[in-house]
Protein backbone atom coordinates (compact mmCIF):
# COMPACT_ATOMS: atom_id res chain seq x y z
CA UNK A 1 0.00 0.00 0.00
CA UNK A 2 1.25 3.48 -0.76
CA UNK A 3 1.19 6.39 1.65
CA UNK A 4 -2.14 7.75 0.46
CA UNK A 5 -3.82 4.36 0.76
CA UNK A 6 -2.43 3.85 4.26
CA UNK A 7 -3.72 7.25 5.29
CA UNK A 8 -7.14 6.58 3.79
CA UNK A 9 -7.27 3.27 5.57
CA UNK A 10 -6.44 4.91 8.87
CA UNK A 11 -9.04 7.65 8.39
CA UNK A 12 -11.66 5.09 7.37
CA UNK A 13 -11.02 3.07 10.50
CA UNK A 14 -11.47 6.17 12.63
CA UNK A 15 -14.67 7.13 10.85
CA UNK A 16 -16.06 3.63 11.53
CA UNK A 17 -15.12 4.15 15.20
CA UNK A 18 -12.74 1.21 15.10
CA UNK A 19 -9.76 1.15 17.40
CA UNK A 20 -6.25 1.67 16.13
CA UNK A 21 -4.11 -1.25 17.34
CA UNK A 22 -0.33 -1.31 17.96
CA UNK A 23 0.61 -3.00 14.69
CA UNK A 24 -1.74 -0.94 12.52
CA UNK A 25 -0.24 1.74 10.33
CA UNK A 26 -0.71 5.19 11.87
CA UNK A 27 0.56 8.67 11.00
CA UNK A 28 3.73 9.64 12.89
CA UNK A 29 1.97 12.57 14.49
CA UNK A 30 -0.81 10.34 15.79
CA UNK A 31 1.78 8.01 17.31
CA UNK A 32 3.62 10.93 18.90
CA UNK A 33 0.41 12.46 20.21
CA UNK A 34 -0.75 9.20 21.78
CA UNK A 35 2.65 8.44 23.34
CA UNK A 36 2.77 11.94 24.79
CA UNK A 37 -0.75 11.77 26.17
CA UNK A 38 -0.54 8.24 27.62
CA UNK A 39 2.87 8.84 29.19
CA UNK A 40 1.75 12.13 30.74
CA UNK A 41 -1.27 10.29 32.06
CA UNK A 42 1.00 7.56 33.48
CA UNK A 43 3.30 10.14 35.08
CA UNK A 44 0.24 11.81 36.65
CA UNK A 45 -0.77 8.51 38.23
CA UNK A 46 2.57 7.90 39.91
CA UNK A 47 3.20 11.52 40.89
CA UNK A 48 -0.40 11.57 42.13
CA UNK A 49 0.55 8.96 44.72
CA UNK A 50 2.68 11.56 46.53
CA UNK A 51 0.21 14.17 47.84
CA UNK A 52 -1.98 11.39 49.25
CA UNK A 53 0.95 9.30 50.43
CA UNK A 54 1.75 12.28 52.61
CA UNK A 55 -1.24 11.41 54.81
CA UNK A 56 -1.00 7.62 55.09
CA UNK A 57 0.82 7.71 58.42
CA UNK A 58 -1.53 10.39 59.76
CA UNK A 59 -4.88 8.99 58.67
CA UNK A 60 -7.35 9.49 61.54
CA UNK A 61 -8.39 5.84 61.87
CA UNK A 62 -7.32 2.37 60.84
CA UNK A 63 -10.22 2.22 58.37
CA UNK A 64 -9.17 5.47 56.73
CA UNK A 65 -5.58 4.28 56.60
CA UNK A 66 -6.46 0.98 54.92
CA UNK A 67 -8.63 2.78 52.38
CA UNK A 68 -5.96 5.36 51.61
CA UNK A 69 -3.28 2.68 51.22
CA UNK A 70 -5.50 0.75 48.81
CA UNK A 71 -6.19 3.91 46.84
CA UNK A 72 -2.55 4.94 46.56
CA UNK A 73 -1.68 1.38 45.55
CA UNK A 74 -4.34 1.58 42.83
CA UNK A 75 -2.78 4.79 41.48
CA UNK A 76 0.56 3.00 41.21
CA UNK A 77 -1.16 0.17 39.37
CA UNK A 78 -2.86 2.62 37.03
CA UNK A 79 0.51 4.13 36.22
CA UNK A 80 1.76 0.67 35.26
CA UNK A 81 -1.26 -0.08 33.03
CA UNK A 82 -0.59 3.18 31.24
CA UNK A 83 3.16 2.70 30.82
CA UNK A 84 2.33 -0.71 29.34
CA UNK A 85 -0.11 0.90 26.91
CA UNK A 86 2.46 3.54 25.91
CA UNK A 87 5.12 0.88 25.36
CA UNK A 88 2.95 -0.82 22.74
CA UNK A 89 3.86 2.15 20.53
CA UNK A 90 7.53 1.29 20.70
CA UNK A 91 8.88 3.61 23.37
CA UNK A 92 10.60 1.78 26.24
CA UNK A 93 9.57 2.50 29.80
CA UNK A 94 13.03 3.75 30.83
CA UNK A 95 12.83 6.37 28.13
CA UNK A 96 9.42 7.60 29.27
CA UNK A 97 10.55 7.73 32.90
CA UNK A 98 13.73 9.55 31.94
CA UNK A 99 11.68 12.25 30.25
CA UNK A 100 9.78 12.68 33.50
CA UNK A 101 12.88 12.69 35.68
CA UNK A 102 14.66 15.25 33.52
CA UNK A 103 11.63 17.53 33.55
CA UNK A 104 10.90 17.13 29.84
CA UNK A 105 7.58 15.35 30.28
CA UNK A 106 4.61 16.89 32.03
CA UNK A 107 2.12 15.48 34.49
CA UNK A 108 -1.18 16.87 35.73
CA UNK A 109 -0.66 20.30 37.32
CA UNK A 110 -3.01 19.44 40.21
CA UNK A 111 -0.36 17.33 41.94
CA UNK A 112 1.86 20.36 42.42
CA UNK A 113 -0.44 21.62 45.17
CA UNK A 114 0.22 20.64 48.78
CA UNK A 115 -2.01 18.50 51.02
CA UNK A 116 -2.12 20.66 54.14
CA UNK A 117 -4.93 19.03 56.11
CA UNK A 118 -6.73 15.71 56.34
CA UNK A 119 -9.66 17.32 54.53
CA UNK A 120 -7.41 17.60 51.47
CA UNK A 121 -7.52 13.81 51.18
CA UNK A 122 -11.30 14.15 51.04
CA UNK A 123 -11.13 16.96 48.49
CA UNK A 124 -8.68 15.04 46.29
CA UNK A 125 -10.89 11.96 46.17
CA UNK A 126 -14.08 13.93 45.62
CA UNK A 127 -12.87 16.65 43.26
CA UNK A 128 -9.57 15.55 41.72
CA UNK A 129 -10.59 11.95 41.17
CA UNK A 130 -14.03 13.16 40.16
CA UNK A 131 -12.49 15.31 37.45
CA UNK A 132 -10.09 12.56 36.43
CA UNK A 133 -12.94 10.05 36.17
CA UNK A 134 -14.90 12.42 33.94
CA UNK A 135 -11.94 12.56 31.58
CA UNK A 136 -11.27 8.84 31.84
CA UNK A 137 -14.85 7.80 31.17
CA UNK A 138 -14.54 9.66 27.87
CA UNK A 139 -11.18 8.01 27.20
CA UNK A 140 -12.72 4.54 27.39
CA UNK A 141 -13.78 5.35 23.82
CA UNK A 142 -10.44 6.80 22.73
CA UNK A 143 -9.26 5.59 19.34
CA UNK A 144 -6.05 3.88 20.47
CA UNK A 145 -7.04 0.35 21.53
CA UNK A 146 -4.59 -0.39 24.37
CA UNK A 147 -5.27 3.04 25.89
CA UNK A 148 -9.03 2.51 25.73
CA UNK A 149 -8.76 -0.91 27.38
CA UNK A 150 -6.51 0.42 30.16
CA UNK A 151 -9.16 3.09 30.77
CA UNK A 152 -11.91 0.50 31.17
CA UNK A 153 -9.94 -1.17 33.96
CA UNK A 154 -9.02 2.12 35.54
CA UNK A 155 -12.57 3.49 35.55
CA UNK A 156 -13.84 0.32 37.20
CA UNK A 157 -11.22 0.56 39.91
CA UNK A 158 -11.60 4.29 40.41
CA UNK A 159 -15.22 3.93 41.38
CA UNK A 160 -14.37 3.75 45.07
CA UNK A 161 -11.82 6.56 44.95
CA UNK A 162 -14.29 9.37 44.52
CA UNK A 163 -16.79 7.94 47.00
CA UNK A 164 -14.23 7.56 49.76
CA UNK A 165 -13.22 11.21 49.27
CA UNK A 166 -16.78 12.46 49.34
CA UNK A 167 -17.41 10.37 52.44
CA UNK A 168 -14.51 12.10 54.20
CA UNK A 169 -15.97 15.50 53.25
CA UNK A 170 -19.47 14.49 54.44
CA UNK A 171 -18.15 13.44 57.83
CA UNK A 172 -16.12 16.63 58.28
CA UNK A 173 -18.98 18.84 57.08
CA UNK A 174 -21.26 17.26 59.69
CA UNK A 175 -18.62 17.47 62.41
CA UNK A 176 -17.48 20.25 64.74
CA UNK A 177 -17.32 23.84 63.45
CA UNK A 178 -13.55 23.43 63.13
CA UNK A 179 -13.95 20.27 61.07
CA UNK A 180 -16.50 21.91 58.80
CA UNK A 181 -14.18 24.86 58.36
CA UNK A 182 -11.35 22.49 57.48
CA UNK A 183 -13.51 20.91 54.77
CA UNK A 184 -14.54 24.31 53.41
CA UNK A 185 -10.93 25.53 53.39
CA UNK A 186 -9.87 22.48 51.46
CA UNK A 187 -12.67 22.95 48.92
CA UNK A 188 -11.60 26.60 48.56
CA UNK A 189 -8.03 25.63 47.77
CA UNK A 190 -8.76 22.67 45.48
CA UNK A 191 -11.71 24.02 43.50
CA UNK A 192 -9.82 26.15 41.00
CA UNK A 193 -6.86 23.83 40.45
CA UNK A 194 -9.41 21.06 39.83
CA UNK A 195 -11.17 23.09 37.13
CA UNK A 196 -7.76 23.64 35.52
CA UNK A 197 -7.27 19.85 35.27
CA UNK A 198 -9.43 19.82 32.15
CA UNK A 199 -6.81 21.91 30.40
CA UNK A 200 -6.86 25.32 28.71
CA UNK A 201 -9.98 26.80 27.16
CA UNK A 202 -10.83 25.17 23.84
CA UNK A 203 -9.91 28.32 21.94
CA UNK A 204 -6.41 28.26 23.42
CA UNK A 205 -5.67 24.55 23.52
CA UNK A 206 -2.93 23.77 21.03
CA UNK A 207 -3.35 19.99 21.15
CA UNK A 208 -7.13 19.85 21.06
CA UNK A 209 -7.76 20.03 17.34
CA UNK A 210 -5.83 16.89 16.42
CA UNK A 211 -7.01 15.06 19.51
CA UNK A 212 -10.62 15.53 18.47
CA UNK A 213 -9.94 14.86 14.78
CA UNK A 214 -8.20 11.58 15.59
CA UNK A 215 -10.85 10.67 18.18
CA UNK A 216 -8.21 10.45 20.89
CA UNK A 217 -10.50 12.79 22.80
CA UNK A 218 -14.24 12.66 22.23
CA UNK A 219 -15.19 15.80 24.09
CA UNK A 220 -13.51 19.16 24.49
CA UNK A 221 -11.88 20.61 27.61
CA UNK A 222 -14.70 23.13 28.05
CA UNK A 223 -17.44 20.53 27.64
CA UNK A 224 -15.92 18.29 30.30
CA UNK A 225 -15.31 21.23 32.64
CA UNK A 226 -18.94 22.34 32.31
CA UNK A 227 -20.22 18.85 33.04
CA UNK A 228 -17.97 18.57 36.07
CA UNK A 229 -19.29 21.84 37.50
CA UNK A 230 -22.88 20.79 36.83
CA UNK A 231 -22.38 17.51 38.69
CA UNK A 232 -20.32 18.83 41.57
CA UNK A 233 -22.24 21.94 42.68
CA UNK A 234 -25.25 19.96 43.98
CA UNK A 235 -22.88 17.54 45.76
CA UNK A 236 -21.35 20.48 47.63
CA UNK A 237 -24.72 22.00 48.45
CA UNK A 238 -25.99 18.69 49.80
CA UNK A 239 -23.36 18.67 52.54
CA UNK A 240 -23.52 22.39 53.25
CA UNK A 241 -20.24 23.42 51.61
CA UNK A 242 -19.93 26.44 49.34
CA UNK A 243 -18.16 26.51 45.99
CA UNK A 244 -15.79 29.51 46.19
CA UNK A 245 -17.16 31.29 43.12
CA UNK A 246 -19.39 34.34 43.48
CA UNK A 247 -20.33 34.28 39.81
CA UNK A 248 -21.59 30.76 39.87
CA UNK A 249 -25.30 30.52 39.15
CA UNK A 250 -27.74 28.22 37.42
CA UNK A 251 -28.40 29.17 33.82
CA UNK A 252 -31.75 27.71 32.81
CA UNK A 253 -31.21 28.36 29.10
CA UNK A 254 -28.11 26.19 28.93
CA UNK A 255 -29.27 23.82 31.67
CA UNK A 256 -25.97 24.28 33.40
CA UNK A 257 -24.09 26.56 35.76
CA UNK A 258 -22.35 29.73 34.71
CA UNK A 259 -19.02 30.04 36.47
CA UNK A 260 -15.89 32.20 36.59
CA UNK A 261 -12.73 31.60 34.62
CA UNK A 262 -9.98 29.90 36.57
CA UNK A 263 -6.78 31.91 36.89
CA UNK A 264 -5.01 30.81 33.73
CA UNK A 265 -1.87 32.68 34.61
CA UNK A 266 -1.53 30.50 37.69
CA UNK A 267 -2.19 27.44 35.54
CA UNK A 268 0.63 28.37 33.16
CA UNK A 269 2.97 29.05 36.04
CA UNK A 270 2.34 25.66 37.60
CA UNK A 271 2.65 23.88 34.23
CA UNK A 272 5.99 25.56 33.70
CA UNK A 273 7.43 24.33 36.97
CA UNK A 274 6.59 27.17 39.35
CA UNK A 275 3.74 25.69 41.38
CA UNK A 276 3.99 25.32 45.14
CA UNK A 277 5.31 21.73 45.04
CA UNK A 278 6.78 21.07 41.57
CA UNK A 279 10.35 20.66 42.82
CA UNK A 280 9.34 18.61 45.82
CA UNK A 281 7.20 16.19 43.80
CA UNK A 282 9.76 15.54 41.11
CA UNK A 283 12.56 15.43 43.66
CA UNK A 284 10.71 12.80 45.71
CA UNK A 285 10.08 10.64 42.65
CA UNK A 286 13.67 10.88 41.43
CA UNK A 287 14.94 10.04 44.92
CA UNK A 288 12.66 7.00 45.09
CA UNK A 289 13.96 5.90 41.71
CA UNK A 290 17.56 6.32 42.78
CA UNK A 291 16.98 4.56 46.06
CA UNK A 292 15.50 1.64 44.18
CA UNK A 293 18.57 1.30 42.04
CA UNK A 294 20.22 -1.36 44.17
CA UNK A 295 17.07 -3.49 43.92
CA UNK A 296 17.08 -3.33 40.14
CA UNK A 297 20.77 -4.14 40.04
CA UNK A 298 20.38 -7.00 42.51
CA UNK A 299 17.59 -8.52 40.42
CA UNK A 300 19.71 -8.39 37.28
CA UNK A 301 22.81 -9.79 38.89
CA UNK A 302 20.83 -12.56 40.64
CA UNK A 303 19.30 -13.46 37.33
CA UNK A 304 22.68 -13.53 35.57
CA UNK A 305 24.20 -15.60 38.31
CA UNK A 306 21.41 -18.14 38.11
CA UNK A 307 21.84 -18.37 34.35
CA UNK A 308 25.57 -18.98 34.69
CA UNK A 309 24.98 -21.68 37.32
CA UNK A 310 22.46 -23.36 35.06
CA UNK A 311 24.81 -23.22 32.06
Amino acid sequence: MNQAELENNFEAKLSRNENIEPKDWMPDNYRKHVIRQISQHAHSEIIGMLPEGNWITRAPSLRRKMVLLAKVQDEGGHGLYLYSAAETLGTPREELLNLLYTGKAKYSSIFNYPTLSWADIGAIGWLVDGAAIMNQVMLQRTSYGPYARAMVRICKEESFHQRQGYEIMCVLAKGSPEQKEMAQDSLNRFWWPTLMMFGPKDAESSNSENAIKWKIKRESNDELRQRFVNQTVPQAELIGLTIPDKNQKWNESKKGYDFSEPNWEEFNNVIHGNGPCNKERLGTRVKAHEEGKWVREAVISYNEKRKSVAA
Partner: protein, 98 residues
Protein backbone atom coordinates in the same frame (compact mmCIF):
# COMPACT_ATOMS: atom_id res chain seq x y z
CA UNK B 1 20.53 7.22 34.00
CA UNK B 2 21.34 5.87 30.54
CA UNK B 3 23.56 3.30 32.26
CA UNK B 4 20.41 1.82 33.67
CA UNK B 5 19.00 1.12 30.25
CA UNK B 6 17.50 -2.29 29.79
CA UNK B 7 16.99 -2.84 33.49
CA UNK B 8 13.31 -3.71 33.18
CA UNK B 9 13.61 -7.33 32.15
CA UNK B 10 11.37 -8.97 29.60
CA UNK B 11 7.83 -7.94 28.81
CA UNK B 12 5.41 -10.71 29.77
CA UNK B 13 1.84 -10.74 28.52
CA UNK B 14 -0.68 -11.52 31.24
CA UNK B 15 -3.80 -13.67 30.92
CA UNK B 16 -6.31 -13.98 33.75
CA UNK B 17 -8.86 -16.69 34.30
CA UNK B 18 -11.69 -15.41 36.45
CA UNK B 19 -13.28 -18.70 37.44
CA UNK B 20 -12.37 -22.33 36.93
CA UNK B 21 -13.39 -23.46 33.49
CA UNK B 22 -13.53 -19.97 31.99
CA UNK B 23 -11.16 -18.88 29.24
CA UNK B 24 -7.96 -17.02 30.07
CA UNK B 25 -8.39 -13.43 28.95
CA UNK B 26 -5.54 -11.11 28.03
CA UNK B 27 -5.44 -8.13 30.35
CA UNK B 28 -2.10 -6.41 29.78
CA UNK B 29 1.57 -6.99 30.50
CA UNK B 30 4.24 -6.71 33.15
CA UNK B 31 8.01 -6.43 33.18
CA UNK B 32 9.97 -9.13 35.00
CA UNK B 33 13.31 -10.88 34.95
CA UNK B 34 12.02 -14.41 35.41
CA UNK B 35 8.78 -16.37 35.40
CA UNK B 36 8.31 -16.30 39.16
CA UNK B 37 8.68 -12.53 39.29
CA UNK B 38 6.37 -12.21 36.29
CA UNK B 39 3.66 -14.20 38.08
CA UNK B 40 4.01 -12.18 41.27
CA UNK B 41 3.98 -8.87 39.42
CA UNK B 42 0.94 -9.96 37.41
CA UNK B 43 -0.85 -10.98 40.61
CA UNK B 44 -0.11 -7.62 42.23
CA UNK B 45 -1.06 -5.58 39.20
CA UNK B 46 -4.05 -7.36 37.67
CA UNK B 47 -5.77 -9.24 40.49
CA UNK B 48 -6.00 -6.74 43.34
CA UNK B 49 -9.74 -7.36 43.63
CA UNK B 50 -9.93 -11.14 43.35
CA UNK B 51 -10.29 -11.02 39.58
CA UNK B 52 -8.21 -14.10 39.30
CA UNK B 53 -8.55 -17.82 39.78
CA UNK B 54 -5.47 -18.52 37.69
CA UNK B 55 -2.84 -16.57 35.76
CA UNK B 56 -0.76 -17.17 32.68
CA UNK B 57 2.31 -15.13 31.89
CA UNK B 58 4.02 -15.50 28.53
CA UNK B 59 7.15 -13.69 27.32
CA UNK B 60 5.75 -11.25 24.76
CA UNK B 61 8.49 -12.15 22.29
CA UNK B 62 7.10 -15.67 21.96
CA UNK B 63 3.67 -14.49 20.90
CA UNK B 64 3.16 -14.75 17.19
CA UNK B 65 0.41 -12.51 15.86
CA UNK B 66 -1.33 -12.29 12.52
CA UNK B 67 -0.52 -9.05 10.80
CA UNK B 68 -3.28 -6.48 10.42
CA UNK B 69 -2.34 -5.77 6.78
CA UNK B 70 -3.08 -9.33 5.74
CA UNK B 71 -6.29 -9.58 7.66
CA UNK B 72 -8.44 -9.80 4.54
CA UNK B 73 -6.61 -12.61 2.78
CA UNK B 74 -5.80 -14.43 5.99
CA UNK B 75 -9.37 -14.85 7.14
CA UNK B 76 -10.88 -14.95 3.67
CA UNK B 77 -11.46 -18.73 3.59
CA UNK B 78 -14.29 -18.36 6.12
CA UNK B 79 -16.05 -15.60 4.21
CA UNK B 80 -17.99 -17.74 1.72
CA UNK B 81 -19.11 -20.41 4.13
CA UNK B 82 -22.29 -18.97 5.49
CA UNK B 83 -23.63 -22.51 5.83
CA UNK B 84 -21.57 -22.68 9.03
CA UNK B 85 -24.12 -20.40 10.67
CA UNK B 86 -27.52 -21.62 11.88
CA UNK B 87 -29.25 -18.69 10.20
CA UNK B 88 -28.39 -20.28 6.83
CA UNK B 89 -31.09 -22.92 7.34
CA UNK B 90 -34.81 -22.38 6.90
CA UNK B 91 -37.07 -23.80 9.55
CA UNK B 92 -40.85 -23.64 9.76
CA UNK B 93 -42.43 -20.51 11.23
CA UNK B 94 -43.25 -20.74 14.93
CA UNK B 95 -40.63 -23.32 15.85
CA UNK B 96 -38.97 -22.55 19.20
CA UNK B 97 -35.92 -23.68 21.14
CA UNK B 98 -33.88 -24.36 18.02
Amino acid sequence: MSKEKDNQGLVWEVFVQKKPGQPFVHCGNVHAHDSEMALQNARDLYTRRNEGNALWVVPAKYIVASSPEDIGAFFEPANDKIYRHPTFYNVPEGITHM
